[in-house]
Symmetry: C2
Subunit: 346 residues, 2 copies
């Protein structure tokens, strides 16, 4: 994505960049402050990835130490020293963090981001775990360091939802609902058409939408973490994952799904949040939604978010059929946000 | 709106303000650099406005000179001196411009904004005329003066559409379509229910949606100017109003409207734009849209915009039933954008 948009970044936004470090589980920790060869990196990266999947294929991965390709290290204790050494070796100004979701702790992403901010680099992540597990800490650390912590790829494949609310000052978000998980959305549609659960899951995996281990999608964890991230940042209410009432799609039988679709009220995995007193009541669960409504029309990899605010009673955003590059674009857009803000020079 | 959000501006955004000048056709030009009494202004303003209408009730108005309440001056030649004297007397840092649309020339708003920027104030407008008639000039003048020219209220009642695209760097907007005029949307719905054109128009006027002279809405001018503003700013293609193929709703008969609704394809006044070569092909005209699609579901004062970009094939924004304060909120949000950008101090 960086290579693809290099010219536009330079000509339209007056931004140039150098990739001085790359770390993946299979490549290890690579750094060169004079800049790495981008073509060679791309070739290495395609060797590294078995297929073009939207997210890393396995969870909780930690890169091997610099220069080695040894077996995976356990992610606790946190690989602070590797990350710090690598950030120093790369003389990093910005870290782009794209490890996979760890629902329980947000690690190792939280440690990666903390190390970057302490090193004096801005941090961009596509991983929603740190928002739920460490948002206030990381936000405050970034402020104290005069750096920025950006995460626009975490909820809606790079559609700038958090930035949109930055552009809605002095507004009160009362609640929201929407459809934020593609894997379950694809599985439900395929089951309505007659496939079994396992066949539908395999189809979602073959399309590059579902991970090899899709448990987090199917049981509603992915959608719950996104819901918690929106509540934490946009409603400024700290919420724990266990406070979100959560039910996945395992209990739905093909026959019930087909009948609901025929009745004009197909099932969708719906996220909801609503202020209640000083807190927020939130849920992720299968709901019957009416055909012809925005939620009823959100199919495949599309997603939808409807916000209720004191100024705009209904303000909704729909993203239709994003390509596999949308999340990467979200990180690129965060990078441009950084680069054009004065804080970059600080 | 400023009074209503004063506390949030101060506490959440660390912004305080003083109103040092007000100009309306009936009040004339009022200025006091030490600040005007806001309560008294509100009382005067409610005397001034015969009803709570969304826009100024008549077109091409020019305020009377300072301190007088004389008859309306013709808007050509432009009231440069009044505006300049008033800006100086008020020692204005920011001008909030909210005159009504002049389709032909964008005046007097263009002159007001130019005077503000030359005076050394930022300019915020809710008037779309200047975007179509003088966007590049005003943008370049603002840049040369180190000031900003903001206009988020012009297209979608304050929903931050232009800001959204500021947050979508290095993206290519290929085209868009949507429903952007409330008056025609309300009239079409009422005619489907059995009212005549005149009765429907009166209803829209009694709801405070349509202006006394609704010609610009009914003949598609309002929607065409919004379409041209989006093309000019977001697609960076200078477009003239006469380049937009335009057809209003006068030709639609109640019976045809009712039949189309019964068939499940109601008529809507649809705006469209699409890149073609180095230009853009654009239209505003009544189209039959399918019930259950986002356009088919856009009723009353709601509006809808669907963008096609190279990253997000479909990215759409829906605004449901905004209140009469939404446009004012858009200007307030522009004011916050200014106040928190470093350029304010420049």
């Amino acid at each position: 994505m960086l290579l693809d948009r290099e010219r536009e970044l330079r000509e339209r936004h007056e931004i140039s960049f150098r990739i001085t470090g790359v770390a993946t589980r299979r490549l290890g920790w690579i750094a060169d402050p004079d800049g790495l060869d981008q073509g060679a990196l791309l070739a290495l990266a395609s060797d590294d990835l078995p297929s073009l999947s939207r997210t890393e294929p396995a969870l909780n991965g930690t890169p091997a130490p610099i220069g080695t390709k040894g077996p995976l290290a356990p992610h606790h204790p946190a690989p602070h020293n590797y990350v710090r050494d690598w950030l120093s070796a790369a003389r990093a100004d910005v870290l782009l963090e794209a490890t996979a979701l760890n629902v329980e702790s947000g690690q190792p992403a939280v440690d990666h981001i903390r190390a970057a901010l302490e090193h004096g680099a801005h941090a961009i992540t596509a991983n929603k775990g740190p928002i739920v597990h460490a948002y206030r800490d990381l936000r405050d650390l970034a402020a104290a360091q005069g750096k920025r912590f950006l995460f626009e790829s975490t909820v809606m494949d790079g559609v700038p939802i958090f930035s949109l609310f930055h552009e809605l000052p002095a507004i009160r978000l009362e609640g929201f609902h929407g459809i934020l998980n593609s894997t379950t959305n694809v599985i439900l549609s395929e089951m309505e058409k007659g496939l079994s659960f396992d066949e539908s899951l395999k189809k979602a995996q073959s399309l590059g939408i579902a991970e090899t281990d899709a448990t987090h999608d199917i049981d509603g964890w992915d959608a719950a973490v996104k819901t918690a991230a929106l509540i934490t940042v946009l409603m400024d209410v700290p919420v724990k994952l266990e406070d979100i009432s959560r039910e996945g799609i395992r209990g739905l039988r093909p026959r019930a799904l087909r009948e609901a679709r025929m009745d004009g009220f197909p099932y969708k995995l719906v996220c909801r949040a609503k202020r209640e007193g000083s807190g927020v009541r939130a849920s992720v669960r299968p709901e019957k939604v009416m055909v012809g409504t925005p939620m009823g029309s959100t199919s495949g990899t599309s997603s939808y978010l409807c916000f209720n605010t004191d100024i705009f009673p209904v303000l909704s955003v729909f993203e239709g059929d994003p390509g596999l590059y949308a999340t990467a674009y979200g990180m690129l857009a965060d990078f441009v946000r950084l680069a054009r803000s004065d804080v970059f020079l600080g």
